[in-house]
């Protein structure tokens, strides 16, 4: 497994720790100037503030040397998981449809939220149940997902929406939509379903000591499908 490191990535270490020490997976860092992604079972594009989020979140990282390789890898069906800033970078790179805007309430927000599993038709959720709730933290200022109406229809038709923001009872109330995202969307895949973009941070919900472990279930699904430990 590989975790990409851009200048300014912060959650690269968190993702690495989660995979190596909690999931006992074989994982390495991928410096953004490297261009060899051969032999990797999955690439994680972690959260953080690549390039300070200057200009637009992910806009500059998207041109990093490693991205060309990553795009090829994804086109060939290689699994790519974009978390938070990673999601933003994948959007800028065109690997998944839509765009990110500033949170509706215009503030950065960091808190635990509930997301509901909308589809189990991907490696990221195949061992989960539809409508299952997961308590996972978000931490972002630009997590307001946008796509036009035709885009929403396509996402629905192709079963590309993986997670939606809900309240503790599983309802998509206005209050539960923590940043104003269109259709409460918290995570989606591309048509092929190998590329995932999600705003919440599963790597922060891996240990009971830190107060939440639901993130583990997503990684467990991935590892099971890829059958690697």
């Amino acid at each position: 497994m590989g975790v990409v490191v851009f200048p300014g990535s912060n959650c690269d270490h968190d993702a690495y720790h989660a995979l190596k020490y909690v999931m006992n997976a074989d994982v390495k860092f991928l410096w953004h100037k490297e261009t060899d992604v051969s032999g990797l079972d999955i690439i994680i594009v972690p959260g953080g503030f690549s390039y300070g989020d200057y200009l637009r979140s992910g806009a500059i990282a998207r041109f990093s040397p490693i991205m060309q390789e990553l795009i090829e890898y994804a086109k060939k069906g290689g699994p790519v998981m974009g978390i938070c800033n990673g999601f933003q970078i994948l959007l800028e790179a065109g690997l998944i449809p839509g765009a990110m805007r500033h949170n509706e309430q215009l503030k950065f927000i960091c808190k635990d939220v509930h997301i509901r599993v909308e589809s189990t038709q991907s490696i990221y959720t195949s061992t989960l149940q539809k409508d299952q709730l997961l308590k996972i933290p978000i931490s972002h200022g630009e997590g307001n997902y946008y796509i036009d109406n035709d885009g929403i229809k396509e996402l629905q038709d192709n079963d590309q929406v993986l997670f939606r923001y809900v309240n503790a009872h599983g309802e998509t109330t206005q209050q539960a939509n923590i940043n104003g995202s269109v259709d409460h969307i918290a995570g989606i895949t591309n048509k092929q379903k190998n590329v995932l973009g999600m705003m919440p941070h599963p790597e922060r919900a891996m240990e009971q000591l830190l107060g939440k472990e639901d993130g583990k279930q997503i990684f467990e699904s991935v590892l099971q499908v890829l059958a690697i430990t």
Partner: protein, 749 residues
């Protein structure tokens, strides 16, 4: 080439004379000292360097004599206070912790977003310049009344500034405090603390030595930012100061993140002799301090410094406070290894000078020596002046300390008073603030801000954890400087204990008014004496910190506010961590500590009676020590399910908070405590802790506490979803929760 000695009249440089020196913030005597030492009139550049190095901010000239009286040694302290950029303590398991707190008050008053942001950047740099990776941040803020638009503007700007910088840099905020009082109007306090970890033996030092060793500047390029930021911090804020600043320092957290990674990597090469970050007084300060520490000399060619703007003079280059820069001394011949690391991270790394014989720092530009000064003469502990100021006990203390509070007409409805306190911005939920901070990045946060007494982080690869808290009730210090100083330390230690850790050491940020006012200086000295009392009793030495004077505004001085950053170590973070929320129906609620007496200086007095008077709450340091030791033992022995210290708002508020945090109610009977009912509910007498335990542990716990020599009494049981105060009435937790949570968001929207 012969040193073309500084011409006193270079084009565009003003004549150096006493008037110019006074304009620069130096006194007549200081100017004479400079002439004496140099044996001639200083050049314009030299005058600039002296003015910043001898400013209050850099030299601590009006505080160092008092600071030296604080306890600054301890078995775990690895460096003496003030020796390095931050304190360093040994926490066991081969790990050391570097930590420090600093202020950025005056810049935040003028430009709150950038002032707060650069404050955060500066303190993190102080930590990683020692080779430690910052892993947690705390902050302590003071503002005027939330009812004024200017204060809301400042709060919004400061919180966004701290959030944007800290979040981008990637260090979680694990705790903090925000207080509002009219006395801080116009002069907000923004104190930022950073905690970092480094393996024992891998720390870096801020020293320049080894003749011939190259000196490098790394990081961002140098512009005209914040020139005279140091002297700015040494003056009071006036209408003039808003117009005065030629340049505001702008923080770039992305560059700082690159600087952090590059610097830690550079230290691993083994090529670094010494490293210091550039904060106040930029190149002038770092070069002279590193040189003085090494006892040799340094020569720097300012032409080689990467400049952001054309045509900068030597004066501007030396005084620039452009952020995100460091000064490094390398082993001769090994500098390329360092340069390669910084270039990998797309940062400047340029050799600009070398360590030389002698004891002067010499700065060249355009082929001329612009300044040549004995390094030792510039620095704190060397030639920088040290003053004892005039002191006078403030007249108001006579009135406030003799105020007769026995005649107060207390409101009949205690529950309504409790609600008013929970709704007061000083006590109400600060969620509006801390949800703008990333509190979880680095996946170490066991307990973050909010429903906790202190921040708790685990250390990967070890069972241990660190617990930290910032604390100071400025109102107490105003009403009784000595005791207020003691309480600041005692309370921060108590908070750390309630989270399951042993208090170890402190850093402090001393925020006071103009030291040339005898009343302010008396208060400063007294409160420091109090701090010393408590640090000695509780064995939490001072590892360093910061002094911020001149916190006044056109109307009055702020409350004297010595903010304590307390660090504790938790031996087994999984087993020992403790939090204040009620845990189980049926748990027994105990009150540990002595009588709840005295309403002086309380939030109750302020909110309900609109008074700031009386004596500070009572504190007996012997009792405090015993309570802390005995309660900590109870926690680590697994006898306790919840712990919360009694502070702002008193016992009633503490109990309410435990309920609000958990959504579990309680049946409470406070008649077991002696005293008047309003004191029992709202007194802020110190050394009080509320504990809960499971019913089958009650006997063991009470025996342990009593044997430990502390007073304890059962005051209730956890049950239901309301707080039922025997003989008074009940109130639903839902109701209290909504009052507590809505206070600040309502005002800020």
């Amino acid at each position: 080439m012969n040193a073309s000695f500084m011409s006193e009249l270079t084009p565009k440089e003003p004549t150096v004379n006493l008037e110019l020196a006074l304009d620069h913030g130096l006194t007549h005597e200081e100017y004479e000292m400079i002439i004496d030492c140099l044996g001639r009139t200083p050049s314009f550049t030299e005058l600039g360097v002296y003015s910043v190095m001898w400013s209050e901010h850099c030299s601590y000239k009006n505080s160092i004599i008092e600071l030296k009286k604080l306890p600054r040694e301890g078995e775990h302290l690895l460096v003496e206070a003030g020796e390095e950029n931050a304190g360093l303590v040994d926490i066991g398991d081969g790990l050391c912790c570097a930590f420090k707190i600093e202020s950025h008050n005056h810049p935040s008053a003028v430009e709150p977003y950038q002032g707060a942001a650069t404050g955060v950047g500066g303190i993190h740099r102080d930590i990683f310049t020692m080779g430690a990776r910052p892993i947690a941040a705390l902050n302590s803020l003071r503002f005027g009344s939330l009812n004024t638009p200017r204060v809301r503007y400042l709060l919004d700007g400061v919180v966004r500034g701290i959030g944007d910088y800290g979040n981008s840099f990637g260090v979680p905020v694990i705790a903090g405090e925000v207080y509002f009082d009219e006395s801080y109007e116009g002069n907000p306090l923004v104190n930022a603390m950073s905690i970092g970890i480094v393996k024992a033996g891998e720390t870096a030092s801020a020293i320049a030595k080894g003749i011939g060793n190259p000196v490098l500047i790394v990081g961002a390029s140098t512009g005209r930012d914040g020139i005279h930021g140091a002297t700015f911090a040494s003056e009071e804020i006036s209408e003039e100061s808003e117009a005065k600043r030629p340049s505001v320092q702008v923080g770039d957290p992305f560059t700082e993140k690159l600087l952090l990674e590059a610097s830690l990597e550079a230290l691993q090469t083994g090529a670094v002799v010494g490293m210091q970050d550039m904060g106040a007084a930029g190149i002038a300060c770092s070069s002279s301090e590193m040189t003085a520490k090494g006892g040799q000399g340094m020569r720097i060619n300012l032409d080689l410094v990467p400049a952001r703007e054309p045509g900068m003079t030597a004066y501007e280059m030396l005084l620039s406070e452009s952020q995100e820069r460091m000064l490094i001394v390398a082993h001769k011949g090994q500098e390329q290894a360092i340069i390669d690391v910084y270039e990998k991270w797309d940062l400047h790394a340029v050799v600009i000078g070398e360590v030389v014989e002698g004891d002067h720092v010499t700065y060249w530009k355009d082929g001329e020596v612009k300044a040549q000064i004995p390094a030792e003469h510039l620095v704190l502990g060397g030639g920088a002046p040290q003053y004892v100021r005039e002191m006078k006990k403030p007249a108001y203390l006579q009135e406030t300390q003799s105020a007769d509070l026995s005649g107060l007409t207390h409101p009949e409805n205690l529950i309504e008073s409790l609600e008013a306190l929970l709704h007061s911005p000083n006590i109400a939920s600060k969620r509006w603030v801390h949800e703008q901070y990333d509190t979880m990045v680095r996946t170490n946060t066991v307990q973050g801000p909010g429903a906790t007494d202190a921040g708790v982080i685990r250390l990967k690869g070890s069972k241990k954890g660190l617990v930290a808290k910032t604390d100071c009730n400025g109102r107490y210090v105003y009403l009784n400087p000595r005791r207020g100083g003691q309480i600041a330390v005692a309370e921060s230690a108590r908070n750390v204990v309630c989270s399951g850790a042993k208090p170890m050491a402190i850093t402090n940020c001393l925020n006071y008014g103009n030291p040339y006012k005898p009343e302010v200086y008396w208060t400063f000295k007294e409160s420091l004496a109090g701090m010393g009392d408590a640090c000695r009793k509780l064995n939490t030495p001072v590892t360093g910190g910061n002094v911020s004077f001149y916190n006044e505004n056109p109307e009055s001085a702020i409350f004297p506010t010595p903010i304590i950053g307390m660090l504790g170590v938790i031996e087994d973070v999984e087993k020992h961590k403790m939090s204040p929320s009620f845990k189980n129906e049926g748990d027994i609620i105990l009150y540990v500590g002595s009588s709840r007496i005295g309403l002086g200086g309380t939030e109750y007095l302020k909110v309900i009676h609109k008074l700031t008077t009386g004596d500070a709450p009572i504190l007996d340091l012997d009792v405090e020590l015993k309570v802390q030791q005995v309660v900590l033992k109870a926690i680590t022995s697994g006898l306790v399910t919840a712990a919360h210290d009694v502070s702002d708002g008193g016992l009633a508020v503490s109990i309410a908070e435990m309920g609000i945090f958990s959504s579990l109610g309680a049946q409470i009977d406070l008649s077991v405590l002696s005293g008047s009912i309003h004191e029992i509910w709202f007194s802020e007498a110190q050394s009080g802790i509320v504990l809960t335990c499971q019913p089958d542990q009650k006997e063991t716990l009470m025996k342990h506490l009593l044997q430990g020599g502390v007073e304890v009494v059962q005051i209730g049981t956890v049950q239901g979803d309301a707080l039922l105060f025997e003989g008074v009435g009940s109130v639903s937790l839902d109701h209290l929760h909504s009052i507590y949570e809505s206070a600040i968001p309502k005002v800020m929207s």
